[in-house]
C-alpha cells in the first residue's frame, strides 16, 4: 500500500477494491494481501483497460476495473453534428469491425427516418457485417493465443484478417475505417469481379480455419489454461448483461440475428453456435464456430444478391447522385440542404440494435425533429461484458486474468466511447 501514491490510484478506487466482499481468505489476511496495478499500458489488457487486483499470494481475491482512458466523448459529439457526419465516427467504436458498426448505426437512423434501403444494398450490408465478424474474431482468437503464449496463431489469424481487409479495400476504398454505409444505401456498388474475390476468400477460409484450429485444439497448454477458467452460469450471464459470444458460451441462445431479425437474415439459413460450459474455452469455441457460420452466410448472400440500385430514391432524406448534383438544380438544392442542415427525421425516440462481433451494439436516438440528434446513447457490448470481469477472475491466478480478458475480447474504443 505504501508504494501506491495518491496520484497513481484515486483513494475511491482503492476503497472500492477493499470494500469488495471476500469470502475465500486462506491465511492471515494482513500478512499476505497485496494490491497490484495492471494497465492501462499492459500488453494483455487489449488497449487501455486498467485493473486493480487485490491478491493473496498469486490468487485474485477481488478486482476493480477502471475505464475511461479512451473516453473520447462520442455521445457529446453526436449531439453536435448531423446524422450523415457521424458515420465515420462509428468506424472507430469497435475498431476491429468497422463495417458492422456502420450498418448498426445506419439501421438506427433509417428506423428513425422511416426509410428502408433497396434490397441489393441490404444484401451488401449483410455481406460486410459477416466479413467484419470474421476479421474481428480472427483478432480475438489470435490475441487470445498470444496472451497464452501461442504466438504463431496470432500471425496466422492476422494473415486471414489481412485478406478480409484487402477485400474491404476493394469494396469501400479503405482497408480499415470503411465508412461504407450511407443513409438509404451504401456508398458504392460492388461489382461481380469483387464478389468472386469474396467467394474465393470464403472457399479457402474453411481450410485455413482448420489449420488454425489444429494448432490450438490439440495444444494441451492452450486447453488447460482455458478449461474451467472464468466460469459464468446461465442465469448470472443474463443478469450481468453479457451479450454476444460470451453469452452464448454460457448456453443462452440469444442472437439478435434470430431474436430480433434485421436486414434479410430471416431468409438465410444458418445456426447459432451455443456452448453450455460457460468457461473461457467455450467462449473461444463459440467464436470459431461463428466464423464458420459467417462463411456460410456470405456464400448464401452472394448467391441471393439481387441486381438493382444501391441507394434509395428519396430526395429529402438520401443524398442524390454526384452526376445529378452537377447537372440539375433540384438535386443541388437537396444536396446543399442535406449536407448543411441534415436530414430532418420526425420527433421521437428509437432504439435499434444489431448483433456485432462483440455482442449487442445498440443506438438509442432521441430526435427533436432537427438535423442532429438531441441525444444519442451507444449501448456498447464491450463495456457491459467487462462488467462481468470482477466476478470471473475471482479465485483464479494472476496469469488466468490474462486468459479471461482475452476470452471476453473487449475493445476499449467501444467500452469507453
Amino acid at each position: 500500500m505504501e508504494k501506491l501514491k495518491k496520484e497513481d490510484a484515486h483513494p475511491k478506487i482503492l476503497q472500492a477494491l477493499l470494500n469488495t466482499e471476500v469470502e475465500m481468505i486462506k491465511d492471515d489476511v494482513l500478512d499476505n494481501e497485496m494490491i497490484l496495478n495492471m494497465g492501462p499500458q499492459h500488453p494483455a489488457t487489449h488497449g487501455v483497460l486498467r485493473l486493480m487486483l487485490r491478491l493473496d499470494g498469486e490468487t485474485v481475491l477481488a478486482s476493480v476495473p477502471e475505464l475511461g482512458y479512451l473516453h473520447r466523448g462520442y455521445e457529446k459529439m453526436a449531439e453536435n453534428m448531423n446524422y450523415l457526419d457521424y458515420i465515420p465516427h462509428t468506424d472507430r467504436l469497435d475498431y476491429l469491425a468497422p463495417p458492422a458498426n456502420n450498418v448498426s448505426y445506419i439501421l438506427a437512423v433509417e428506423k428513425l427516418a422511416g426509410i428502408e434501403a433497396p434490397p441489393r444494398a441490404q444484401y451488401i450490408r449483410m455481406m460486410m457485417c459477416e466479413l467484419a465478424r470474421i476479421a474481428s474474431h480472427m483478432v480475438a482468437i489470435g490475441s487470445l493465443g498470444l496472451d497464452i503464449g501461442a504466438v504463431t496463431v496470432f500471425l496466422w489469424t492476422l494473415r486471414e484478417r489481412e485478406k478480409v481487409l484487402d477485400l474491404f479495400d476493394k469494396i469501400c476504398g479503405a482497408r480499415f475505417t470503411t465508412s461504407y454505409t450511407r443513409i438509404g444505401g451504401v456508398a458504392q456498388d460492388v461489382d461481380d469481379a469483387t464478389l468472386s474475390l469474396v467467394r474465393d476468400f470464403i472457399n479457402q477460409y474453411e481450410e485455413k480455419l482448420d489449420e488454425i484450429e489444429r494448432l490450438l485444439n490439440g495444444n494441451r497448454i492452450f486447453l488447460e489454461r482455458l478449461e474451467g477458467i472464468g466460469v459464468i452460469s446461465y442465469d448470472d450471464a443474463i443478469d450481468i448483461g453479457l451479450t454476444g459470444p460470451s453469452l452464448r458460451g454460457s448456453g443462452v441462445k440469444y442472437d439478435l440475428r434470430k431474436n430480433a431479425p434485421y436486414l434479410f437474415y430471416p431468409e438465410i439459413d444458418f445456426n447459432i453456435p451455443v456452448f453450455t460450459e460457460g468457461d473461457s474455452l467455450a467462449r473461444y469455441f463459440v467464436r470459431v464456430e461463428e466464423t464458420r457460420e459467417s462463411a456460410k452466410i456470405i456464400t448464401q448472400v452472394i448467391d441471393k444478391m439481387p441486381k438493382g440500385e444501391v441507394m434509395l430514391n428519396s430526395p429529402k432524406k438520401v443524398l442524390p447522385k454526384k452526376v445529378e448534383i452537377y447537372s440539375r438544380m433540384e438535386e443541388l438544392i437537396h444536396d446543399f440542404m442535406l449536407v448543411n442542415f441534415g436530414m430532418n427525421p420526425p420527433e421521437g425516440q428509437i432504439y435499434s440494435a444489431t448483433e456485432n462481433p462483440k455482442g449487442e451494439l445498440g443506438f438509442y436516438i432521441v430526435s427533436k425533429g432537427e438535423g442532429h440528434p438531441w441525444k444519442m446513447k451507444i449501448r456498447s457490448p464491450s463495456m457491459v461484458n467487462l462488467q462481468s470481469l470482477p466476478g470471473l477472475v475471482k479465485g483464479h491466478m494472476v496469469s488466468d486474468v490474462v486468459a479471461i480478458i482475452g476470452s471476453l475480447d473487449p475493445v476499449m474504443g467501444e467500452a469507453d466511447k
Binding site: 499500458q41 482512458y69 475498431y95 484478417r161
Partner: protein, 170 residues
Amino acid sequence: MGLEAKLTQDGFITTTIDALAAWARKSSVWPMPMGISCCAIEMMSSADPKYDIARFGSEVMRFTPRQCDLMLVAGTVTYKMSKIVRKIYEQMPDPKWVIAMGACTSTGGMYRSYNVVQGIDQFLPVDIYVAGCPPRPDNLLNALIQIQEKIGKTRARDFQDAPFEEGFKN
C-alpha cells in the same frame, strides 16, 4: 555466402565511433508500442507477415519502456491517459524518439471534444508525425525509415547538452 565471400583476406575498415554507434542505433530501433486505440491495430498489422516490420529491424516490440528507444504513440490520447503516456516516456532511457501515429495523436483529429488532447506535442516532444486515420501500415514503415535517417545523422555531440528529465531526479 554474402559478406563472408568478400572477406577472404583479413581487412580493415575506417570509421568513427560516432558513425558506428549511429549506424547500430538506427538499424535496431526498438519501439515501445503505446497502442491506445484504432491505430494500434494498424500497428499490429505492420508486424504481420504481409508488411513485416522485421525487415527494418524493429520487430522487437517490448511493452516495458526500459528497453526501448522509440515511442510509437498510436491512438487518441485523452487527458486521463496523458499522464500515463508522459510517465512511460520518462521511464525510457535516453536517447529516445517519438512517433505520433495518426491524426488524433498529431492534432486531435476528428475528436474535437472535451476529453481529447488536441495534439500530443502539448506534453511530449514529437519527432515524426504520421498522417492518416489510421495510417496504413506502409505509411508507418515510411515513418520508421524517416526516423532511421534522423537517427543516422545524430552524433555524440547532439546528446551532450540533453537536459535531465524530471523523472531522473527522484
